[in-house]
Symmetry: C2
Subunit: 153 residues, 2 copies
Amino acid sequence: MAEERSKVVKAEGFRWPAVDLREYKTEGTHFRGITRRTLLGEGADEQRLNFITRYFEIQPGGYSTLERHEHPHSVVIIRGEGEVILGDRVESLAANDCVYVAPMTFHQFHATGDEPLGFLCIVDRERDRPQLPTDEDVAALRRSEDVARRLKT
Amino acid sequence: MAEERSKVVKAEGFRWPAVDLREYKTEGTHFRGITRRTLLGEGADEQRLNFITRYFEIQPGGYSTLERHEHPHSVVIIRGEGEVILGDRVESLAANDCVYVAPMTFHQFHATGDEPLGFLCIVDRERDRPQLPTDEDVAALRRSEDVARRLKT
């Protein structure tokens, strides 16, 4: 493996000029107003990282896909306010809050404030693909009133 | 392995009431005004994470230990301003800047602004121990004028 070079990826507010905007999803799933950027881990000269540091941003009123997977997420909120569905619960989110999304927990992030909800989400480089809920899964989740009120599918 | 539960670790500014302050170092190395917290990854119910999300905060004028190791760092600045020595270079740091510290690069973070420099630093759960520089390493680093001006040993 080639020797890798340390570097700084400069920010301008919540944009990183050297980082490309990525499609959030390439397949037809249910989400709204969300963008994804990989800050560190996918570059050819960043292969020694076993984990990928991404930045997601959800516009006010937007939300991520409801999904689950075996790999856990480590999330740190760095902008705005929101709520997250974590299985049968809904929790509020604000700057510097951290979220542990455990394996196989259905989760969905919502931007509920006036500014976008922005968060870092770190995952293993090698990881399983997200699973979408079945109709039965959605019905089970909706048994929680809090979740039923917030859920978008 | 027990089933793990998703959760939110709430913040109050740059403090997380549920998270303990950890000693930055337990051995006598050269640093000043720095604290460490593990936000996610070290809890008994967070063992599925293969990486650890830590928060370091350096008081104005303070600095971290000059060191290197085989494991890389993924760093995101979330508070204040600073500079980082990365081998033979010094780079400025501000909010949302990301730093890739490649394997075996000597590095040292400095808080240069009026408020503390705070940053997330994500590392592999299983990793090698930091190596301190020899006198010869320090002499080599000091050949860079920028590094010589900033370096604290």
